[in-house]
Symmetry: C2
Subunit: 220 residues, 2 copies
């Protein structure tokens, strides 16, 4: 009766569940994914586990070697750098397109989002929760009005980014300064300044990368 009741197959469920476990670190980086094992764990046939794993491969969270098996990707400095370079390119474009294509209503929603999420104020500085950061980037990706771009960011890149952040224990260090950066980006978008919006977003991601990079280096 509902208009868009998206059909969910069991492979979908296993895929979503596994993705969460991997991203949240319950299944560690580099861990092996045994088809037989998982099929008993989830109470489904190997075929659906296989399909779920293949989808994890397609979003670059898992690697598979023929006749050998699938492993969760391992976190490396090189991998982190590459990921953030791609992210910088794509989110920079997203910000540019958001400045161009967002409706006035969407801009307003973005502004109120950023205000509402600056909850805690300590020492005169506003502190973010991570959820705020996620929502912010999500809305801009959506505001690009580019489905393809939105799809790439939300289905693959954000999960990989979160995997790095979670497993390196980035609970919320840099979040204080992130707020100011977010605010400037929103201003640029509000002014329909595509050039500036892209530039600020790229800087923002670069800073974020430097921060997490430091963490990764000291943990090795």
């Amino acid at each position: 009766m509902t208009e868009f009741d998206t059909v969910v197959t069991s492979a979908d469920k296993v895929f979503t569940s596994l993705r969460k476990e991997i991203v949240e670190g319950d299944v560690g980086a580099g861990a092996k994914l045994s088809e037989a094992e998982l099929s008993t764990k989830y109470g489904v046939s190997r075929a659906v586990v296989r399909e779920a794993i293949n989808r994890l491969v397609s979003i670059n969270i898992v690697e598979r070697k023929a006749n050998v098996g699938a492993r969760v990707v391992s976190l490396t400095l090189q991998g982190l750098v590459e990921l953030y370079q791609v992210r910088e390119a794509l989110e920079g474009m997203a910000a540019r397109l958001a400045a161009q294509n967002m409706t006035d209503l969407e801009v307003k929603a973005l502004q109120s989002l950023i205000d509402s999420h600056s909850d805690k104020v300590v020492d005169g500085q506003r502190y973010y929760q991570e959820a705020g950061d996620v929502d912010f980037h999500y809305q801009i990706a959506k505001g690009s009005h580019n489905q393809y771009l939105f799809y790439m960011l939300t289905n693959s890149i954000y999960h990989l980014v979160r995997m790095y952040r979670v497993q390196l224990g980035m609970a919320g260090p840099r979040v204080s300064t992130a707020y100011a950066e977010h605010k400037h980006i929103v201003q640029a978008i509000g002014n329909r300044d595509q050039e500036l919006a892209e530039m600020l977003m790229r800087r923002h991601i670069l800073y974020s990368r430097n921060n997490i990079e430091r963490k990764l280096e000291e943990s090795q």
Copy 2:
């Protein structure tokens, strides 16, 4: 005995074959992919066809609806624009990174490539073959020394781009001016000018988009 004899499974073969047929237009845009039909055609079980189709989905060449089936994506102006926006972002970054990371040897190879591929000279202008364009972009993607970025471009985006070009009959119009643009990009990379390399590459792709966009509009 060979060092890297990559194992090829039958799903790989079906995937590669289907991808070619789709990109080259032998299987038209919007066409339905019946699992049963394809399994008899290729002489394999439905399972391997299914896996191949799933991989085509992950490349964004095919769409699948649960319990309904898979169809080749249809070519639309909107889709083209979105694709080229993503491409502009990624290849711009690739050019920037190439300027930063390519070895002197790689730069040399790129320069000689561009010279060798300017075969035909008509009316004092050099004309490209399409293969030259492909090789050019491929080498820059590789020269970024970013595996992740390289993977995205060569496994998904380039195929989609080619699909649009082939099915719209872009044999080789704009190729004359493309040569000059390529040459400038190579110069910027040779000078290790990241900023300029990125900017020129983005322009180059923008021009290319305008060209193909015109073609799509008049064909509808």
